[in-house]
Every structure is written in structure tokens, then in C-alpha cells.
């Protein structure tokens, strides 16, 4: 393999060659704005994660107690199979441990980080395991999803009940078709294209329902995760 010019062999200096072109500035400017960042100390799990990031296993065990009911609950909701869900939840926690020192508070709370990771891992599991067609077939008869799973271990029952009531109220503010599309995507683990097939509506319609539904949910729930 021969480069066609001598110039091509020179390693590209992204730092010097490209600074003039505004790229590095662009990337820097792309960080979440300070206004968007949670206030320091606003995230009660931030301290636990910071200690875990320094190798403190006891702190990580505490973090596990706070997050496990949510992580396992989300994974179970998407994956359905309890033993597979247990495997996926374990992967999520080991990943949280490994990456603890790299957590970036400007990109959301610890809970949001863990929820994102749990959902992504669960999705990876179901999408790698089955063809989308199989899942669509299985889901057609199971479109209605419940919201009344049982409570966890660390937070008080009252806290959990309040959380659930608040989320249920917020979900109730979505139109039925918005809620259906959001839930099929989030809990059903479907892409919006699959949701369109499931509901037999246009992809653009599903995209709009998902977007409008998430905007409503965001407005109802505020930005405190």
C-alpha cells in the first residue's frame, strides 16, 4: 500500500493543522452548557460514585443498594426473562464500577447515567438475541404495559410511592397514542420503525408521537432526575 503523495504520509496533526479550521473549537464548544449541568452537590449519589471511582468497594455497595431496584426493574421490563435480566444487570453494575472515575456530571445525574446504561444494555441484549420480526410478532398481543411493579429496598416505600405516582401522573398526561409509542419504544425495546409496523402507522407519525410524548413527559417531570 503506497500513499500517492509524500504529503499523505505525514501524520495529520489534528491539533495544529486543524485548529485553524475551527474543529477543536467546535468540539470544545460542544460540551453541555454550564446551565445544563446539575448543581454541584445536587446529586446525592455523586459522592458515592466519586468514592467508588477511587476504588472504594463499600461505597459501591451502597451505590448498588440505591440503584439496583431501578437497574434491575428497567432491564427486566425490557428483557423479560429474569435470569437473563440478572446477567444484564450484573454487566451494568460491573460497567458502572469500571467507568466510575470517568463519570461526567455535566451529562446528567448518576441515576440518569445508570438508567441510560441499563436501558442501552437491555436493548443490546434483546436486539442481539432475536430478530426484530420475532419480537414484533410476540408483542402484537401484548401492547398494554403496566406500571405497578413492586418497590425496592433502600428508599422508603413512601418515597417510591411518590415517585411512582408522579411518573404515573406524567404518563397520564400523554395522549394514548403518544404513551403507547413511548412505552413500546422504551419498555418494549423497539425502534420507532418497529413501532410503526406494530401499530400499522407511518414511521413519520410514530416519530412525531414519540417526540411529542417525550416533550410532554419532560415538561411534566421537570429536569430533576
Amino acid at each position: 500500500m503506497a500513499p500517492n503523495t509524500e504529503h499523505a504520509l505525514r501524520p495529520l496533526r489534528l491539533d495544529t493543522d486543524l485548529r485553524d479550521m475551527g474543529v477543536l473549537r467546535l468540539a470544545r464548544a460542544s460540551r453541555p452548557g454550564r446551565d445544563a449541568a446539575p448543581k454541584p452537590g445536587a446529586d446525592p449519589l455523586g459522592h458515592l460514585l466519586a468514592r467508588a471511582g477511587r476504588g472504594d468497594q463499600a461505597a459501591f455497595a451502597d451505590l448498588y443498594d440505591h440503584l439496583a431496584p431501578m437497574v434491575y426493574g428497567v432491564v427486566l421490563k425490557v428483557v423479560r426473562d429474569p435470569s437473563q435480566s440478572e446477567e444484564v444487570a450484573q454487566e451494568v453494575f460491573v460497567e458502572l464500577w469500571r467507568l466510575a472515575a470517568r463519570y461526567d456530571g455535566t451529562k446528567g445525574t448518576v441515576t440518569a447515567w445508570a438508567a441510560t446504561m441499563a436501558h442501552r444494555r437491555a436493548i443490546d441484549r434483546v436486539r442481539s438475541e432475536q430478530s426484530a420480526r420475532d419480537r414484533v410478532a410476540r408483542e402484537v398481543s401484548n401492547v398494554v404495559l403496566d406500571h405497578d411493579d413492586v418497590a425496592g429496598t433502600v428508599e422508603t416505600e413512601v418515597d417510591r410511592d411518590l415517585d411512582r405516582a408522579r411518573v404515573r401522573r406524567a404518563l397520564d398526561r400523554l395522549s394514548p397514542v403518544q404513551r403507547e409509542a413511548v412505552e413500546l419504544a422504551y419498555f418494549g425495546g423497539h425502534t420507532y420503525r418497529e413501532v410503526a409496523v406494530l401499530l400499522d402507522v407511518a414511521e413519520g407519525t410514530v416519530k412525531t408521537r414519540i417526540r411529542d410524548g417525550m416533550i410532554r413527559l419532560r415538561d411534566e417531570l421537570g429536569e430533576t432526575a
Partner: protein, 244 residues
């Protein structure tokens, strides 16, 4: 592939993990530099965290013990770079084994690198336009490079390219800081020795988008850490590797 008009509307589906791989990649290329979409992603994730927090199920009792046992034997990633192996020969041997494995599986196709590099600017950045062009090409290919164990899943490097369009788009995110005097270097791996494609300087958010002119089809891509200014051949561990 959505049109440019649509891309600002994908944040909701993205945070629900409801985009297909191409759209996800396009959106991940787009949103960090778009104020509106970045705010959407943060806010939608915050809302979903609450939905998730209302979705609790008591985990199996055995899970905690299993997690903590795994934690006890799992090395954490440094906030900075993974430790470098001090023995150069060992490093080189392991690297050649890794590269050899990919080469055995990949057809040897000659790639001649063009000299020009174009990177995006603000507004609708050039890389997003280039990415759309690459992904819309009939031979457009997306590859997520496999991170080595030392990197972990938090860091990602994706390459999209089209030989027909003569273009490759590199999107890196979550890369940890390199030690002073060191930087990430991107490699094209073909039939011969790895060819340097350029240095990926750590930026604040660990994000970098690069558009490279290519001439030909690659067989594999790799990323190492090298002294500033780059090495003519890789000397550091392969941190990301993907066979085309």
C-alpha cells in the same frame, strides 16, 4: 438516513434507544454540537431516569453478591489513560498478534490516502454533512471499533466511510485524557504496515469528529496512543480496532 431537517427531531427516539444504528450514529455525530439537541438529550434522559426510578423491581438476592465478587476482581479504568506496558517488545508482540488476527480475516485491499483533511465548523458542521453523504452512498459502511479491555465501553470510536464518495468520517467520544506529550493516533490497517491517518488530539469532552479523504477501501482501522506529532508506525497498545 434522515434529512438534515429531521435530525433535530431525533433526540426523543435517541434517548429511548429507538433509532436504528445508522440514525443513531448520525445523531451522535450531530447532537454534541447542536445546542437544541444537546439540551433535548439531557432533559429527555433526566425524564427517563424518573420513569426508570418508578420502574423498580427488587433484584434477586444473589445479584449483589455476584456483582461485588466481580467488582472485587475487576480493575477500574483510570480517569486518564490506561497504564502503558513498559516492555516495548511485549507491547509490539501483542500488537502484531492483534493486527494479524484481523488481517487474516480481512481481504488485503490497497488503500491510498489522500492528503486533504476537512473538518467541520460550527452551525451545521461539515462532518455531519459528510456523514450524511457517506451513509447515503450505496457502499456506505459504519464500523464501531472494538475498544480494548483497557478502554472500556465508555469510550467509543466509530468510522463511517464510502470508497465511492472517497471519504471517511471519524467520530470519537468519551476518550480519556492522554498524558502530556502523548495523543491518540488513527491508523489505517491494510495489507502492509499500518498507515498513520492522523492525530486525534484530546478535546475537552473527549469528542472529536474528523473527515478524511480516502481513495480505496480499508480493511481495518485502529487507534493507539503515540507521542505528540505521531509515529510512522504504531508503538503503543492498540486501544481500538475494527476490521472492515
Amino acid at each position: 438516513m434522515s434529512s438534515d431537517i429531521d435530525i433535530h427531531h431525533l433526540g426523543a427516539a435517541y434517548t429511548l434507544d429507538a433509532l436504528d444504528e445508522r440514525e443513531r450514529m448520525a445523531f451522535e455525530a450531530h447532537y454534541p454540537s447542536c445546542d437544541v439537541c444537546r439540551a433535548d438529550v439531557l432533559a429527555f434522559r433526566a425524564a427517563l431516569a424518573q420513569v426508570a426510578s418508578a420502574q423498580t423491581t427488587p433484584p434477586p438476592r444473589a445479584l449483589k453478591a455476584a456483582v461485588m465478587a466481580e467488582v472485587a476482581r475487576t480493575r477500574q479504568l483510570s480517569p486518564l489513560l490506561p497504564d502503558r506496558v513498559s516492555d516495548l517488545a511485549e507491547r509490539r508482540r501483542r500488537r502484531q498478534r492483534t493486527i494479524g488476527g484481523f488481517l487474516a480475516a480481512a481481504a488485503a485491499v490497497v488503500l491510498v490516502l489522500g492528503a486533504a483533511v476537512v473538518l467541520g465548523r460550527g452551525g451545521e458542521p461539515a462532518y455531519a454533512t459528510a456523514l450524511a453523504q457517506v451513509l447515503d452512498a450505496p457502499d456506505g459502511t459504519v464500523l464501531t471499533l472494538e475498544p480494548s479491555d483497557a478502554m472500556g465501553a465508555g469510550a467509543s470510536v466509530k468510522v463511517a466511510w464510502s470508497a465511492q464518495e472517497g471519504m471517511a468520517v471519524v467520530i470519537a467520544d468519551g476518550l480519556p485524557a492522554t498524558p502530556t506529550g502523548m495523543a491518540y493516533e488513527l491508523w489505517f490497517i491494510g495489507s502492509g504496515d499500518p498507515e498513520p491517518m492522523g492525530m486525534l488530539e484530546r478535546v475537552d469532552a473527549g469528542e472529536l469528529h474528523a473527515v478524511l479523504d480516502i481513495d480505496g477501501d480499508p480493511t481495518a482501522w485502529g487507534v493507539t496512543v503515540e507521542p505528540d506529532g505521531g509515529s510512522p508506525a504504531p508503538t503503543g497498545d492498540i486501544l481500538f480496532l475494527g476490521a472492515a
